[in-house]
């Protein structure tokens, strides 16, 4: 065979390979419809996205989709909110949600008997009003008669009962039901397979529901605002038990238009929402893309968040972004936990010494450009029931050294490992800074170690971690959610194995009181005792640093997850 013929043939084959590859890729990219016609939410094809059966009218008002971000009036030219979001860690099934990222969307899609408003107060949602018996054990809810699911079906007391029983059904493995609904009579029996229904939930008539508790629980309504108590549609779940979460039929202000993991979530309004329909035509939560602050600057999104270490770059003198800056305190705290069962932290003096040796202010200034608030207590300042008279151990290296010298472990300090959840590599800068501070003040070398999230959770649960870095975000806005959940001796998430009879007694008493002021007093007393015992070193109360376009109105971040997007309006007048 001549070289020439060979060349021609090989060239042809090479072209063939490239052609096959290209065709393959195009087929793969364009192969929508057939194989996943029942799950339009997971396709990536643009044409499918535009022709989706749930097409809202946003497109018409916004003009051509291909350059929607850059249409005439810029991003403020259309009534469509583009913001960022986190990839949901679970699916949109209220009883499976245990993480903030998924809860954010779930709270907009579903609703429960009661809800939280932007001031974090319990307000009516499906229930119009309720009565609490004198002993605080029986709650009677009177439901609105105009609440409908997204598909138009009316919500009745039976739906609420079904939803609560579904949450407690052992076949559904809800990780949160016992924490939030475990106080209802019969939930534990149902969950453990000893009963078929929840005896404490009774349907009185179509729009009246009675819930009975084992014990009076003063924050029960707060707990009912959590996603696990949301109302779901029995018909939809039974029709399509595997796929219903792609387009859940909830009662919330928004419904799901598209959900593409890691890419975007698009919500469109539920026009029949009983508390007043949303004012935007569409919300796009972008889960993908590059630097948020850069995209904000280029007018690609309405709302961006700036990580603390980037603050200097965004807010420096000449930056044009400073005027859009909106800091929002969060209902969360980060802390360093110490395990009271493990030496040397079984000695309170050692714990106090570490607390005195930790210079949180320096970390805040040097690493975070003063982005956070040094936690001078446990309850965050925006939480109802916050008390500013609480105080933590101040930074005082001399005192720290003194305390350590008096401790049982002076001179024979065992190995100390501080564990955090991470993929390894460099530990967070803050931990390295603390490491240095402890080395300087106490002469103690603390090792910092990363382990996988799953393993970290397991070790926390087993209570084996000697020292750990973690944080807590409020599930509901009550001091109990911090002081009680983290420090009562029977709590599953008391990872420090902290046990104080006085604190337990205070928490128990507070749970039964109805008067907020009286309850708060008890929580404050418990909080100060806990801080003095120092099972943890509170570090920071978080602030989220937002950039918000001026055309976005009524935007607010209340610091925890509440339904908030229906209030937002976009001023398209083009100021």
């Amino acid at each position: 065979m001549s070289n020439r013929t060979l060349g021609l043939m090989m060239g042809a084959v090479a072209l063939l390979i490239v052609a096959v590859a290209v065709v393959f890729v195009l087929v793969l990219a364009g192969g929508d419809g057939d194989d996943d016609g029942d799950t339009p939410a997971s396709t990536t094809d643009r044409s499918d996205r535009d022709a989706g059966d749930d097409e809202g009218d946003a497109r018409d008002s916004g003009g051509d989709t291909s350059d929607s971000g850059r249409s005439s009036g810029g991003i403020c030219g259309e009534n469509r909110l583009v913001t960022f979001g986190d990839d949901p860690a679970t699916v949109f099934d209220p009883i499976q949600v245990g993480d903030a990222s998924t809860a954010e969307y779930t709270a907009e899609i579903f609703g429960g008997l009661v809800s939280l408003n932007l001031d974090l107060e319990v307000v009516p949602d499906i229930a119009e009003s309720w009565e609490i018996s004198d002993d605080g054990r029986v709650y009677t809810f009177f439901l609105r008669d105009d609440v409908v699911f997204h598909n138009g079906r009316r919500v009745t007391a039976d739906d609420v009962k079904y939803s609560l029983e579904r949450a407690a059904d052992p076949a559904n493995f809800s990780p949160t039901v016992l924490d939030y609904l475990g106080d209802i009579v019969g939930v534990r029996d149902k969950f453990n397979g000893r009963a078929d229904d929840i005896s404490g939930v009774q349907v009185i008539d179509e729009y009246t529901l009675r819930i009975e508790l084992d014990e009076p629980v003063s924050y029960f309504l707060q707990q009912l605002t959590y996603t696990v108590a949301y109302v779901v549609d029995q018909d939809q779940i039974e029709d399509d038990p595997n796929n219903w979460t792609r387009r859940p039929n909830g009662t919330g202000p928004f419904r799901v238009k598209t959900f593409r993991p890691l890419e975007e979530i698009v919500l469109i309004p539920n026009d029949r929402y009983h508390l007043g329909p949303p004012r935007v035509d569409e919300i796009v939560f972008s889960l993908s893309g590059g630097s948020l602050s850069t995209r904000f600057q280029n007018d690609e999104i309405h709302i961006a968040i700036v990580p603390a270490p980037e603050l200097a770059g965004v807010l420096s003198g000449e930056s044009e972004l400073a005027e859009f800056y909106r800091p929002s305190p969060q209902l969360s705290i980060s802390y360093l936990g110490m395990n009271l069962n493990e030496p040397p932290f079984d000695d309170p003096l050692v714990r106090q010494a570490f607390a005195h040796a930790t210079n949180r202010q320096a970390v805040n200034e040097v690493l975070y450009f003063d982005a956070f608030i040094v936690a001078d207590g446990i309850l965050p300042p925006t939480l109802p029931g916050y008390n500013e008279s609480i105080s933590t151990y101040p930074y005082d290296p001399e005192r720290a050294a003194e305390l350590l010298a008096q401790s049982r472990y002076a001179g024979n300090m065992p190995r100390i490992v501080l564990t955090f959840s991470g993929t390894g590599g460099d530990p967070p800068d803050a931990l390295q800074a603390y490491q240095q501070q402890w080395r300087d003040a106490l002469g103690v070398e603390v090792e910092v170690e990363a382990i996988e999230w799953a393993a970290y959770l397991r070790e926390l649960r087993r209570g084996t971690l000697q020292m750990y870095a973690t944080g807590w975000i409020a599930d509901y806005a009550d001091p109990e959610n911090f002081v009680g959940k983290l420090f009562s001796s029977d709590s599953r998430i008391n990872h420090s194995n902290y046990e104080n009879a006085r604190v337990d007694a205070l928490l128990e008493e507070a749970a039964t009181l109805q008067d907020p002021e009286a309850r708060y007093r008890l929580y404050h007393e418990a909080e100060q005792i806990i801080i003095d015992d120092a099972p943890i070193i509170p570090t920071f109360w978080a602030i989220r640093h937002y950039l918000v376009r001026e055309c976005v109105q009524n935007w607010v971040d209340p610091g925890t997850i509440v339904p908030k997007y229906r209030f937002i309006e976009i001023d398209t007048s083009g100021e």
Partner: protein, 317 residues
């Protein structure tokens, strides 16, 4: 010829089966023996021993490893790749396919771009052999190749998006102008490689007799370079193109992380950390099978053209 070739193909395919099984066992064992448990990440801080036990039964994690392995393959042959524990009720296909649909077009574009840019650059450099332009061209591409992708990406984004606001950083789908920069950056190492390769092949061909003949016939230099040298130098590129094909489907982890592209590499990174057993194993086997197939395809194309190569191919070159 066809008899021998068919036999050869069949033998290659038969050989692929135990290999794929071997790889599946390795993947399975490495993942399952790891000291992290998907049930831990599934239940989070609210872990309850009883729920965990029930979930383990549901997913079959309570059974001995070899039973789980056999069941995995039993399901596989029935077309069931398993479910994602990370994205609760999503099946493996549902998790993987949409992501591959993002990564594959991007990878294909970057690959095509690498050849479209690399081949002319290589030809140019070879034609300029002996002048300063050859080392300058190749050298500058070697320099580009030396910059780690997560560094050049930051520089490019800083300048193009922040300083001159020329490009947007939102991900708007695969066929959108915003994808140009990631694809371009992703193709750079390929461009350098192809250009170098093309140049080397060209230089090799330059001394062949037929080129001398063509020159002697007094053909124009341009004609000689393009129709005689370049075409023949193009041949060895088949293997390299073929070998690059499977990589299209695995995506580029760094590009996807830096640009926030919702591709398969990011999904897999997160799946590994959970760990999402079925997704990781399913995707691992998928890419490995692609690789095996690509290798067989390359050998077959060689075999079609030149039976002499077949002997080589059989020996594993």
């Amino acid at each position: 010829m066809s008899q021998g070739l068919a036999g050869y193909i069949i033998r290659r395919l038969l050989w692929a089966i135990p290999v794929i099984f071997a790889v599946s066992i390795i993947l399975f064992v490495v993942l399952r023996l790891a000291p992290i448990d998907p049930i831990d990440s599934l239940l989070g801080v609210r872990y309850d021993e009883e729920i965990a036990e029930r979930l383990r039964q549901k997913y079959g994690y309570d059974e001995p490893l070899h039973v789980q392995y056999l069941r995995y393959f039993e399901n596989l042959f029935q077309g069931d790749l398993g479910v994602s524990t990370r994205r609760l009720d999503f099946s493996v296909e549902e998790v993987v396919i949409p992501k591959v649909r993002v990564s594959a077009p991007i990878g294909a574009m970057a690959l095509v771009l690498a050849y479209v840019l690399g081949i002319p650059i290589g030809i140019y450099a070879a034609a300029q052999r002996g002048t300063y332009r050859d080392p300058l061209t190749i050298g500058s591409w070697l320099f580009v190749d030396a910059i780690p992708i997560f560094v050049i990406a930051v520089w490019a984004m800083w300048f193009l998006a922040l300083k001159v606001s020329l490009i947007d950083l939102s991900y708007e789908g695969v066929f959108h102008e915003n994808i140009i920069l990631p694809v371009l950056l992703m193709s750079f190492p390929g461009v350098a490689g192809v250009a170098r390769f093309m140049r080397a092949s060209m230089v090799q061909v330059i001394y062949e007799d037929y080129v001398r003949t063509a020159r002697a016939k007094g053909l124009r230099e341009r004609t000689v370079v393009i129709s005689h040298i370049a075409r023949n130098a193009f041949l060895p590129m088949i293997t390299s193109i073929g070998l690059s094909l499977p990589a299209i489907f695995t995506g580029s982890l760094f590009i996807e992380l830096v640009f926030g592209i919702p591709g398969i590499a990011r999904e897999m990174l997160e799946a590994i950390f959970v760990p999402d057993y079925d997704v990781v194993i399913g995707f691992g086997l998928f890419t490995f099978s692609l690789f095996v197939l690509a290798n067989i395809l390359i050998d077959i194309t060689y075999g079609f053209i030149d039976p002499r190569v077949r002997v080589e191919a059989e020996r594993g070159v």
